[in-house]
Every structure is written in C-alpha cells, then in structure tokens.
Symmetry: C2
Subunit: 460 residues, 2 copies
Amino acid sequence: MQRTRIVEVLSREAGGPVLVKGWVRTRRDAKGFSFLEINDGSCLANVQVVADHTEDLLSVLDALGTGAAVGVSGELVPSPAAGQRWEVRAGAIEVYGLADAEAFPLQKKRHSDEYLRTIAHLRPRTNKYGAMLRVRSEMALAVHDFFRQRGFFHVHAPILTGSDCEGAGEMFRVSNLEAEQAAAMPPDRRAEEEFFGRPSGLTVSGQLEAELMALALGGVYTFGPTFRAENSNTPKHAAEFWMVEPELAFADLVDDMDLAEALVRHLVAHALSACAADLALFGNYVDKNLLPTLEDILAAPFARVTHAEAIGILKASGRSFDYPVHELSDLQTEHERFLCEEHFKRPVIVHDYPKEIKAFYMRLNDDGRTVAAMDLLVPRIGELCGGSQREERLDVLTRRMAEVGLSEEQYWWYLDTRRFGTAPHAGFGMGFERLLMLVTGIANIRDVIPFPRTPGHLEF
Amino acid sequence: MQRTRIVEVLSREAGGPVLVKGWVRTRRDAKGFSFLEINDGSCLANVQVVADHTEDLLSVLDALGTGAAVGVSGELVPSPAAGQRWEVRAGAIEVYGLADAEAFPLQKKRHSDEYLRTIAHLRPRTNKYGAMLRVRSEMALAVHDFFRQRGFFHVHAPILTGSDCEGAGEMFRVSNLEAEQAAAMPPDRRAEEEFFGRPSGLTVSGQLEAELMALALGGVYTFGPTFRAENSNTPKHAAEFWMVEPELAFADLVDDMDLAEALVRHLVAHALSACAADLALFGNYVDKNLLPTLEDILAAPFARVTHAEAIGILKASGRSFDYPVHELSDLQTEHERFLCEEHFKRPVIVHDYPKEIKAFYMRLNDDGRTVAAMDLLVPRIGELCGGSQREERLDVLTRRMAEVGLSEEQYWWYLDTRRFGTAPHAGFGMGFERLLMLVTGIANIRDVIPFPRTPGHLEF
C-alpha cells in the first residue's frame, strides 16, 4: 500500500484501509489496547492510532515511545474521541527506528527556545518549530505567487560580489586561500592565487543587480540569502538572512509604496487563510494578540507620512525616547513601534527622507534636501520593507556618488544603465525573516531560521 | 493612463487606447512616418509603433535610436504588416533616456557570447538573454510548483557552514577578518575575533540539513546557491550555482528515481508549454535540435540500468573513450552522453554504484559492495541529477564514516537523526543551471547565469 500523508488522511471523506508513516509523539496504554499519537510533519495535527494488545502488536508496542519512527497500516475509522474525526485502527506496525527515552533530547514537556536552539536539528519535530517551518515554506511560495501574478520575473542576484551595495553593511570576506597562506604571499602572487583575482565578499543586497535586470525585463524580484558581518546580538539581526527585493522599471515612489503595501497585505492574508492551524498554535502559545494584529493589518489602508511629518508626530508625542528625535534622525525601532502601535494603530509608510541618512542611489527630490525613499513599518517589528525610487539621472547620480566618496570606475556597469536608455524605476527590500516574525509572533529571529547564523553560532 | 506590458498588449482581444513603455530596438524611417520596434522584456516580441511625422513627434523621433527608453501612448490598431496582429499608432512619445548610437555597446548586429559576457549588465536587453532570463524565472517557479503539488515543504539550508558535506568539493573560506589581520593573531585571539569563533565556509550542498528537516516534516526541498572553489574552466562549471535538493522520508532508491524522473519530465514539459516563444528562438538560433531533443525526453520512460550494466554496455560498445572504463569507474561526460544519445537514445538513470566511488552517507546495499545511489543522465548535458537512498542505520553509517576518515564528533547532529527515530529516506540534487542548459540548448553555463562567477570573473 502507498503511504498517505497525515494531512490528507485527516481530511478524507470516507474511511478505509490506510498506511501512515511518522514519528510517535506519545503512547498511552489502556487495558487491552494502546493509543499512539503519530505526527509526520505534514500538518500540526497528529493522527491517533488505536492498537489492540494482540500478540503481534504487543511485541512491538512495548518498545515504542516518544520519537520512534513507525509505519502503521490499518483501517481509518470514525473516532469516538472529541475533537478528531478519524482514528486509525492498527493492523500492523512496522518499526523503523526507536528513540531511547532517557537519551532523546525532546522530552514530553515544554522546552525553552534557548534549549531548542542547541538542538536545532531536532526542534523541527516539535509542534512550534514544525509549524514555523511549514509557515516559512508557505510564505516563500506566496512571495513567488504574488510577483508571478503581477508579471515580475524571478532573478538570481549573485552572492559572491566584488562590490558593496551601500558601503554600509559590513561584508564577510571570501577566499579560496587560508589566511596564513594569503598573508604570506606578495601582492602579485596573491592576486594570481585568489580565485577571482581580487578581493571578494558576500552580498549585502542584490539590489544593484536587480536594477540592471529591471531595466531590461521590466519587473523583476530577487529572493535569496544576504549577509552582514555585524557583531550585533539582537533579536532582530542574523548574519545570514533571506531578502525579497523587487525592482520595477517605469515606476515612481508611489508605485513603490503601492507595491510594498500590496505585498504585505497579500502575505498576511495568505498566512491567515493557508496556515490557519499553525497560526492558531502561535496565537495560543506564542502571542495571544497575533490574530487580531494580523487582522488589523488587513482592516485599513496603511498610513503614509513624510519623514518630516513622522518626526513632528514623535516630537509632539510628549514621549521620552531612548534615542532623541530630530530632523535628521533615522527612525529607531522604538519610534517605528510608537508610530504603528500607538499613533496610527496600523502599518505606516514613512517616505521622503533627508538625503543625508539614505543611500546614494535614492532619487533626489526637487527640494534638493530629501530623497524618494520609503520604509514600511509594521506593529511589533518596526521596519519590514525599505526602498526607494532610484536616481535615474546620470549627472545627479554621479554628483551624489562623489559626495559620498564612491568611485565611478567601480560602478561603471551601474552607471551604464543611466547612460543608455535610462528610465525611472523603483524597488525595495523586505527581510523575509521579519515577515515571518510578523506572521508567527515569534520574537527572536533565531527561531524563524532553520539553522541561524549569529555571532559565535555556526552549528549544524 | 496605466502602462500595459507588451505581452498583454499583443494578446488583447480588442484595440483601443494604450500606453506602452520600453526600449527602442530599431527605428526605420519612411516618407511621412517612422516605425519603432519597442521591447519591454515582458516577452520576446516587440510591439511596432507607427509614428507620423507630425511636428510634435518629429521633435522627439530624430534623437531616438536603438536602446532609448520611451513611453508611447496611442491607439492599438490592427497591423497591416505580416506576422503581427497589432501595432500602436503613436499619439505622444515621452523620452526617458537616450542611448548614444556610437557608444551603446549593443549594436544592431549579432554579438558573440564571449563579448556579451563582458557586458552582462546589458545583455538582458538582447533577444537571447532576455529569453534565457524569462525561461530561468519560469523554470524556478516550475520547481516550486512541482514540489508544492506533491506536499513537499520548501526549506532554506544555511549557506555559511562549519562542515563540508562530502569532504569532496573544495570550499570557499569565509571570514570577517582580512587575511593579514587573521594571520597576525595568536590562535586564541583569532578564535575570539572570528565572527563564528571558528573557521567557516560556503556550503557545497544543503543535503545534510535537508535530511534533518525531512526527518521531521516528511518531504522537503532546498533551492539555493551552492559554491565550489574549484579552479576548473569548463563550460559546465561555475563557482556559484543554484541547486534543487529534495529529500523524502520513508522513501527508498526506487522512490528517489521516480521522483527525479517526474521532476525532469515536469520541467521539460512546462518549458515546452509555458516558454514556447522563447524556446523557439533557442531552437532557431542556438540548437536546431532543441525541440526534438526535449520532445524525445517526454516520449518514453527513462532507461534504468545498474552501474555494472552501464559499464558492460560501454565496454561492449567498441568505442575508444578518452577515459578508460572499468568496474570502479565513475562515469565521465563522454560515457554519459554515449549511454543517453547513442545507446538508449533517451535519458538514463544509472543506479547502484560501487561504494568506493560514492559518498559516505549513501545506503550500503545487501551485497556489501554497492550503494543505493543513482545519477540521472540526459542528452547533451550528461549528469543532471545525482542522489541516493541515505544510510539510516547508525552502525553501518558510523562504520562507513570511520572508513573514510570522518569524525563522529563533527557530525553528532547528523548521527542524532539515526539515534532517535531513524527512518529510511532518500534524496537527490539537481543542478539548476544544467537544467537550463538542457531546456535552452545553451552550451555554456556562463550564459544561463545572470552574472556568472568563474575563476577570475567577479564583475558586476
């Protein structure tokens, strides 16, 4: 018989013969029979197996405890128990692997997130992390659905790079040579032995390359890993994280804000509809306000204010913030959360920032002081998306680059797109893990990444 | 008026007002009017614009040449020209950016692939590379569709890693320190200053991590960048490439072969149906045999032979190969192509290889000599997928690791999955670029990657 996944078993219309395979979550023994709760990761729910104490079944049941891998063939029958429609009456049980009850690191109790990070290879077998991984998968696919429906092409920006997108993020260095080897070589020899003939690093953003492709294909988006070698131990930062970066030709800042708002709405709505069971778990055990928070996001259009207006609101709030607020302030999480959670009580897009606090490629507004940048802020997280209309005017762009000390030679290819058939375009980046923190209520980025990379942590 | 993408303009049912934006491919002047061919990357086809020599239009037309970015508003009307249903009668033309005809690197002639690699930032604006990028996008989405339909979860394996999947591929080293800095530090200090406290590198495969997740979620797949620091300048190798790695719990080698065959069939069929216009271009200009080759792949089940049988066929062929064939030979491209193109005349899955030439995690067969490995070979490319049933028996696995000199300590987490609820499972890896070479006929991996990374090449 073919194995059926538990998610399909539990949604069957009729009973009948069935073969399920999965891991024992619990065993309870009664007089004459035992209950096994089996989970195969296909959904949050277990299927209940009822195994009579026949000679054959008893011979295997005895050793079965939490964590064992089994195949159970039998009959799917209506369950007399409350809260479940079906159960499996076991005919035969095949044991693939046992789990020693003393040694198995996942005991039948609630473990702390900190402990579970030390066994990230096993935590996917818990309800919470199984749910997180299913939501992560569904959200990744929903990103692709969103852009596909709008005619964007998915592009792969390079991970290895010779340039630093903003001169901002600290980059990891990459080499085929050991440090001792490289350091011992004279410069000529080293350039020869270096794989790329020059220093290389891990990308901090695929934006510049996405721009090149948007200016040929119209609308594109990247969805890939990006890296920051920043030694910050916060719940929001990881050294390796996934970013979604759409870039759209013939678009301005308003188009950009519209696209970001539509993306966030699509993803939140999809999480609520496609991941209802997993989100209910998070709502029960992680953040009691999760579902209302997500429903509120869909309830009204996002607020939109200029940076100057946002600063005015913060100043007028009478709040004392840890980071003082002034005209050239980049917003801190405390400011972002005040705007979303207390002032507007919904997501907020802040736009038109002072040029001094934004990157060189952002389009200079006619006032000469601000750039056409925008950040999309959501409750609990703060900044979820950040983007801009790009500076498409060659003369303005090269002037900005000179101001911030970037060399035209290094960016010749980027400037070429402004030399030949330049066009207005805009884009943004969305941190995929921040989205997951939003839709799951999980507060630490380490717990929405299968195997998180943070300072000092490279396990698995 | 809202911009309409050209792919949608050309498939309209009725004419009427329209606004298109894109890049001028050619301008031809006639008496009293000019033709502009406009491409916006949404599809291979251009839309033809007819611009009467009114005073307004003449004032902009004069400067417009190949490469200029424009917006054209006007009327979509039936075209009298052969081969196109619609054309746009221009009302107004807005010029976003010109392209100096002397300086623009994409002239109106056929450029060599080698030249176009030096301008990879502009080659997406050519027919061939635009088509390649559209096919690349569509194939990536088709990978997700395939696995989603089968209930697999998409997982992100880490890129930064402390372990080397097979001890096989040469890894890039990653550090937050400059080589001179690192080399000058005493070991204690260096461990402290290293971001992760120990040496780190770029993943050569996400398989081991995918196994961890399959043994919790059932079926999973990774789709991400992988890296090899191998100094091989061949048309099939790049330092950075994307891999698809499914992993399925409760599966054996036959399930694995079935899954790989189904995936390749799905992707080839989808390319033929969803990318017909772009594939026709490749069939006309890149490989005349492309479409028959792809249709042949779908025509019959793939051949399946053991490695021993394959060696027998090669020996009996009477061919003199560059690489001699014997019982412990890993197959070379020439052997793979002979099997596919000449002997079986269809894709071939070679399975059950001698353990000596395969990785430690592959399941030992009962004969004690071979492992449950498989490679899927296709015409022109050779190996497209490689995989195996994994060794799920702790004792057999640790014995194999000792034989090949791998430390149990380093892989404690991998071995844990065999200690606690181990289960049969299988998976494979498919090189995404090799798939693209198959469906486009493009012979060099450098030409199916937006910005290829190969020895000495790190541009853009």
